[in-house]
Amino acid sequence: MQRLFPYDIIAPHLTAQREIQMKKMKGKLLMTAAEIDLVLARISAEIVEKLGPRNEFAIIGIRRRGVPLGERLCKKIEAILKRPIPFGILDITLYRDDLTAISNRPMLRETLIDFDINNLSLVLVDDVLYTGRTIRAALDGIVDLGRPRRVQLAVLIDRGSRELPIQADYVGKQVQVAEDETVEVRLTEEDQEERVLLLKKPPPSQSVEENY
């Protein structure tokens, strides 16, 4: 069954590219490289529209894949507004709510926010919004660093099945995903390839990490 994506109308050449990529792998292709770029362009325009001219704001990428996504958004917004936008990196590991429940420690990486976030509007960026627990942890992490004026959330994929009352302000693509499936965002900076896939979930032993 061939589904019609809105990109077929905006950019018909993308459909051909999608078909070539689909043949290459087992999972279902949710987004191609060009679609990711298109969606990021739209989100950056939305951020500029909502926050741009009046507000001092910054972009915060959540490790790991929120970081390259955030950087790209930042560049696009800088190109539109023609002024530098501060960019920071947040590691939420220390704030996870399952640290007491799991015996293995998740790998810790540095939080790098070298500007004052007090009274700043912040846009958190992550790849997939699922249970909402990552964002809960990220909000706790942000509050420890200062008191921002407001915090918004931008995600590439919203896959539903929330476990906390958290919603995104900017969504790249909404997808209905079954519990036994997983959305994998692969980005050039982290994975040496660029696309979003829908896969069957690996065995349950790894599912603690998957929920985040």
Partner: protein, 316 residues
């Protein structure tokens, strides 16, 4: 997901290269917490850490305490002078009593080598060695490695000269083992009366001449004369010791241009190290102290996940 391969941190000896790198990477990430306006993260909330210090300690103890507090753990402090040890209780009884309070981590310093190992075998909690006799002081070696790695960007291939009272120093032992494991060229130097000749088995090159140790060294680590662990018979006088083994500006000329000077503290200025060397730009002694908190936070964070492992194993 990563984890240490041990329940306890008893010494550097048991750690693999991967373990060491994991601790150092984690410590590097945790340094940022101490630079925040609010220096606290909720990671160890609800975990209990007991600090059991049978020997006087200011630096290590406050460093551990700060690390525990910054990770939001609950802390219980015991020192030998105020506890029932002074009333004749054995270490094992103390351990079992503490264990009944179900702590998650026990940090212990003891004047006898192997005391933490005994505790580690007997207790379900994770045990961290904060110095046992003249044996090991793993967190100090780890923070030294972090300090060197931060400045030099590597440990492999560096020449490390450890100079001073090697015999009585658990720091020298742990540092030698760790840096040798990580591929550094370790030299130990001091008066022959203060060097155990078995140090070559740990991978170190031994020399009695300070010039030989310093020449071409990337890192110079000075050790304190441990008066409390020795009578004066090892050296004729501190003045003579200074003449032969004191780190002075003149001797520093023999070292590489980008050599760094370290000292685990407390320093005896004018005995093993000159004041102007201790305060010079190439001295990273205060960086060591700052890195100490981050390193201990890393150890506590990584071990706090392992306590359950042993619990399952020991309930057989």
């Amino acid at each position: 997901m990563t984890s240490l391969s041990h329940k306890d941190l008893l010494g550097v000896e048991q750690l693999s290269v991967d373990d060491i790198n994991l601790i150092l990477d984690t410590a590097e990430a945790l340094r940022e917490v101490s630079a925040r306006p609010v220096k606290k993260v909720p990671t160890l909330r609800g975990k209990t850490v007991i600090n059991l210090f049978f020997e006087p300690s200011t630096r290590t103890r406050s460093s551990f305490e700060l690390a525990e507090k910054r990770l939001s753990a609950d802390i219980l402090n015991f020192s030998a002078s105020t506890s029932s040890v002074s009333k004749g209780e054995t270490l094992l009884d103390t351990a079992h009593n503490l264990e009944s309070m179900s702590p998650d981590i026990i940090v212990i310093r003891h004047e006898s080598a192997g005391a933490p190992h005994l505790l580690g075998r007997e207790c379900r909690s994770s045990v961290v060695n904060a110095g046992d006799g003249m044996h090991e002081h793993p967190t100090q070696a780890l923070l030294d490695a972090l300090t060197v790695r931060t400045v030099k960007k590597r440990l492999e291939g560096l020449k490390l000269a450890i100079i001073g009272d090697i015999s009585h120093s658990r720091v020298a032992r742990s540092d030698t083992i760790l840096f040798h494991k990580m591929g550094a060229d370790v030299w130990v130097c001091g008066p022959p009366t203060l060097i155990p000749w078995e140090f070559d088995k740990l991978g170190a090159t031994i020399t009695g001449r300070m010039e030989e140790a310093i020449e071409g060294a990337d890192v110079i680590m000075m050790l304190r004369l441990q008066h409390e662990r020795q009578n004066e018979a090892f050296i004729p006088s501190t003045r003579e010791y200074y003449n032969f083994y004191g780190l002075t500006r003149e001797r520093m000329r023999l070292a590489n241009k980008d050599t760094i000077v370290m000292h685990p503290g407390p320093m005896n200025r004018g005995v093993e190290i000159d004041s102007d060397v201790a305060d010079a730009e190439y001295s990273v002694i205060l960086n060591q102290v700052a890195n100490g908190v981050a390193t201990r936070m890393a150890v506590l964070y990584l071990l706090s996940g392992n306590a359950g492992l042993k619990l399952r194993r020991s309930s057989r």
